[in-house]
């Protein structure tokens, strides 16, 4: 029995784009879905009600960060992550693999797992498939992720092959460790670096395991777009149709479309929330050809229009103007970061909903063409 299942509702007649429903212990959610990132048990600047109100249904939290602070035991004592952070819909936790491998010289890999130094206080720590999954069980997320290595870019073929094979062994161990929790699902992660044969092999191996869903990791790590899309295609080609596909860490509008085109159902990315805190608004390419407004720019000084016309986000529908937001950003006011975060996340939710509608109407190609006709 799977705790998390994917129901395919409709596949676009002319592309690989899929519209479905993700069934989780905390609700059933339409796909394709974008999951905002709440690294430290909070989606930065927002309240749970705000996250829900803007249409987000699954959020991602980072095991690495919570493992180090406040610790998974504390969150377990609080009644789990949902209760701790007051969020009643879906939560996906990553495995911590991406973060510990990003530590560079601060970590040491063995077959058993990874020894590393905490970025907070330098304390020596250890993560492995078993420790990661046990931690995620304590957190109580709906979707756990297998412990993997995100291969650095560029990487030699031999390293990519060995790493991917280890990731497969770790996937088995993660899956085994997850069996004690019947109320949580676990996704495997395909790797393979930038090598087509390794990607194909990894998709086959992970896709054949008893996971609730399959993620594609190690993309958008510095490679060019064409390579990324090619690797993605090879991966989804060999993944089972009856499970959700999740492209990890990808979330700019162009990549979201290209991911959906290639049959991806789930995405997460810090982009929307991070650029908000840097004073940037995400808008339609019709409004700005790069899809972004830099709010500090002088052009917005006396601009009393909303960030985007016809946007139904809190910020725009309440007439908080570009001029006001520019003022807040220049004055380093937190409310400005909130207004931009609310807008950017709502922009992505609406964007995903629009994609879903176009898939259901077999018009995903038109949707994509229209978007890219304006996108520079």
């Amino acid at each position: 029995m799977y705790a998390v299942t994917y129901e395919l509702i409709h596949k676009d007649k002319f592309t690989g784009a899929r519209a479905g429903i993700l069934h989780t212990p905390h609700g059933d959610f339409f796909t394709p879905i974008f999951m905002p990132v709440g690294t430290q048990a909070t989606v930065k600047t927002l309240s749970p009600e705000e996250i829900s109100e803007l249409g987000a249904e699954v959020i991602l939290s980072n095991t690495y960060h919570l493992f180090l602070r406040p610790g998974a035991e504390l969150i377990q004592k609080a009644g789990g992550l949902h209760k701790f952070m007051h969020w009643s819909k879906g939560i996906l936790t990553d495995s911590g693999g991406f973060q510990v491998f990003s530590l560079g010289e601060l970590r040491k890999i063995s077959e058993d797992g990874v020894t590393f130094r905490s970025h907070i206080d330098g304390a020596k720590k250890f993560l492995s498939p078993e420790v990661s999954v046990e931690t995620q069980i304590k957190l109580g997320s709906d979707i756990m992720m297998a412990f993997d290595e995100c291969i650095p870019y560029p990487a030699e073929y031999d390293y990519a092959k060995k790493s991917t094979e280890r990731t497969h062994r770790w996937a088995e161990r993660s899956l085994h460790a997850a069996k004690v929790s019947e109320s949580q699902g676990i996704f495997g992660i395909c790797q393979g670096g930038m090598y087509e044969d390794l990607r194909a092999e990894s998709a086959k191996v992970i896709g054949s395991m008893d996971f609730d869903g399959c993620a594609i990791g190690g993309l958008s790590v510095g490679e060019d777009k064409e390579t990324m899309y090619k690797m993605l295609e090879v991966s989804t080609k060999y993944l089972p149709e009856n499970k959700a596909r999740y492209l990890m860490g990808v979330g700019t509008p162009d990549h979201l479309i290209e991911g959906v085109l290639r049959g991806v159902d789930m995405f997460d990315c810090v982009f929307a929330t991070r650029v908000a805190r840097n004073g940037m608004a995400m808008v339609s390419p019709k409004t700005s050809s790069r899809g972004r407004l830099v709010m500090k720019n002088a052009e917005f000084t006396e601009d009393f229009s909303p960030l985007e016309n016809n946007c139904d986000c809190y910020t725009c529908r309440n007439n908080f103007t570009r001029a006001y937001i520019r003022h807040l950003v220049r004055a380093d006011e937190i409310f400005g970061l909130r207004l931009l975060t609310l807008h950017n996340l709502r922009y992505l939710q609406k964007f995903m909903a629009d994609m879903r509608e176009s898939i259901l109407a077999d018009k995903f190609n038109e949707f994509r063409k229209e978007f890219f006709s304006e996108w520079r």
Copy 2:
């Protein structure tokens, strides 16, 4: 005709404490009232809906800051400060006097006004009674403040006397400049340093002018409590009964009680919002004898209770625990600052409402005694 009036509803039988109603162009508000500070056209971290929902009805904005950035002309073009920041209840603007005098060597005082350097970009600027009031007219606040000098502490008698006399001449000029705006009220400000005779004289002079209300400035600037309370008593003694009295920049719970005891109706202070952003929760002295919880403290690590039992603020009524807030504060998460700001401001609103109830029941003395029996 006054744009802002004070209606005395009930005076406590045994003290000088007053319960009343402040009538403003943007609504009628119960007094005694605490006004949260929204220096830069935003109450730090909060949305207008949140400010309203926690019970705040008048907020204070700083003319000095808005004069420099984004500029009063811009806010006027936006339709005034209410519309610019999306706040439909009362706004009081200070005159900028306090801030420019705080600049120390960066400012030069003459009878005409004050020349100073902007703290943002060093640009040379000038504020005077006329410029300040014209700026406040552009902002469109409900209550404007006369331009005054907040006398530094300590100050020689001669300096305090001369400064207070100039403040009186500036009050006349401020009042004259305000006449062009019939839709806004203006309050005069009593000074007098820490000298009883000057305080009495200043209250008489300002109290006799044609202001909509009277403020007491230059207190809580470093003097001991007894001196502050003495100066306050002398001031309110000579202020007219039929106008609101506003004690500027004062807002710790003990000072609020002592102000109300001496006949003050209005208060503002950055304390509640500033300590929130430093990770401190304001609670009843029954909960903590100092009325404060330092959320980083280890004692809250596994404390799954709310900041305060029976508190009806957003944070407490939604079961955000001390342990969660401690985690957010330690992780530098903005949502933690929001949760504490919401709690602290609600604490003060409830505190003022409780004081009002006790006045209406002629039980202010009992309220005060109970508070101080726990306060250390």
